[in-house]
Point group: C2
Chain length 163, copies 2
């Protein structure tokens, strides 16, 4: 894809994030299965459902821009998920593994937060109000997911302090 202007760059980033969300969709069931804490497993399962809506919303945004949905491999998300998978496999202690899984999931959330934030500002710059509004819905959910993970991390700490 040749990138000559901001519209091209937005389309490219959409393809990048479409790839990333689809990868996350495949990673979440594995993370839910590997979680020791029931709350953490539940958070991953509920974020899986949200991620399905994010993928569908991206498909709507492609349509708004007169484009077909396309996934362009995103080395950033591959790196984040590779790192997570390797660590999850290597850590035998369940509580330490949960701590790492929360951290990895927050790294994924922050990647999505920065990309959605950028796409929203570009869409506004380009006068694509409907695109910006759709992406803002997803951004809010990504922020909420990050905060929910922070809460679970705090619960993990309290549980451990009591144990």
């Amino acid at each position: 894809m040749k990138i000559s202007n901001l519209t091209d760059l937005l389309a490219h980033t959409l393809e990048d994030v479409y790839f990333a969300e689809n990868k996350v969709l495949k990673a979440l069931p594995k993370m839910a299965a590997a979680a020791d804490s029931k709350d953490l497993a539940k958070a991953f399962t509920s974020h899986l459902k949200e991620t399905e809506t994010h993928v569908a919303r991206l498909e709507e945004v492609f349509a708004m821009m007169g484009k077909k949905p396309k996934a362009t491999p995103c080395p950033a998300i591959l790196g984040i998920l590779d790192e997570a998978e390797e660590l999850i496999k290597d850590i035998k202690d369940a509580d330490t593994r949960d701590a790492e899984m929360i951290a990895s999931a927050q790294a994924v959330e922050h990647y999505e937060i920065t990309r959605y934030g950028t796409m929203i500002s570009w869409a506004k710059e380009l006068g694509l109000k409907k695109v910006a509004a759709a992406l803002e819905k997803t951004l809010k959910q990504e922020y909420a997911c990050d905060q929910a993970l922070t809460k679970i991390a705090e619960q993990r700490l309290n549980r451990e302090a009591v144990a």
Copy 2:
């Protein structure tokens, strides 16, 4: 490195972030040279100096934990920087390239923000107050850098609107 508990996990993440900060140190002069906007080039150059202090601070934290500084390859930062380098090379229009460079730099900042945030919470959990305090200094600067980049993105938009 065998990770058996939270102390090991914190040490591993320190090595991961030490690798990441050193990679960023090498990437920033290239980004400053490629920037069209003088403000953006200046922001990259000033963040380079900050990054040097972040590396030195990580070395102090290794010492606080009785460890020698070590860099463990971090696939996440490699992915983020690879993606950035490829796009910067491919985009010929200077203004569009600046927009992408701001976005890439913000992706790097968000990766660092999530990792420092995680390390601070683990250090507190482990009662390592000095470690947490040192890492908090860096986290504040990463947030400030992210905000500075948002301002430059807004200036870029205003400049373009005037042109």
